[in-house]
Symmetry: C2
């Protein structure tokens, strides 16, 4: 059975192999279930024109597609860098059990990635963020939530 | 030119139309550039087996694919619910200018979605979170960041 270090080395190898060919930044991740890699990912933001294609998101999507599930409960993720807030929340939504990481958000910031600023922004109240936001049509949208909640056949996730 | 309310009503209509057919929860979003909708999204978590397929992420990916870009600077997003931390960080990574939202995270929590808990978790220091995390092989992964930073041809994003 491969060790934690073996899985992390695999993620590191992905990050190194793919960063040179225009896919995106130097980040890799693998999702492991029952001692087996079920999803691989590397940053593909620039190659795929997809700002959400961080290594962890790509690995989670790949694992879910392969296993035909929307919950990865029982699986873990190895990522070469501490997840940004987008990827961290994706880990929660995917119900992963644990995160193994190598570089920190500060390491990523050192080479110019926004992770530290993002962690700070996301933690603020909406009115304190640099990103302007504005509320509209609360009543009309709220009615849809009530319709959903009243549907006994809704599929929870 | 359509009003802010017109675009939000479009997002609300998407959220209502798609929640009934198994795609996912009652959430919709549209990305607007220069007064035109360039990306639509609705929650497709259960239909697509993709825990990252929240309305905002789907709309951002659609807009980037349509425009052939990885930055949506100059565009705004209309979403029927205040973005969860994943979607909020995706908005930052996509460089969107502004968020218009209708329901709040508390409204979503009221019908059973984890957004409030997630906002709280993401804001905590790693050691304080419910999600266990562990650091491994920092030196080996850090070397890859240095290699990236030393590459004069790297494409920043």
């Amino acid at each position: 059975m491969p060790s934690h270090e073996d899985f992390m080395r695999h993620a590191i190898a992905l990050s190194r192999a793919r960063m040179g060919d225009g896919d995106g930044g130097p980040f890799g991740a693998v999702v492991v279930m029952d001692g087996e890699i079920v999803g691989e990912g590397w940053n593909r933001v620039t190659g795929d024109n997809d700002p959400t294609a961080h290594a962890e998101v790509v690995a989670i999507r790949a694992a879910c597609e392969r296993l035909g599930v929307f919950s990865l409960e029982g699986a873990v993720i190895y990522t070469t860098c501490e997840p940004c807030p987008m990827c961290l929340a994706a880990v929660y939504w995917a119900r992963l059990d644990r995160v193994y990481y190598a570089n920190t958000a500060e390491d990523a910031a050192r080479i110019g990635f926004d992770d530290v600023r993002l962690h700070r922004e996301v933690a603020l109240a909406p009115a304190q963020r640099e990103l302007p936001s504005e509320r509209l049509l609360a009543d009309e949208a709220s009615a849809v939530l009530d319709e959903w909640a009243a549907d006994p056949d809704r599929l929870r996730y």
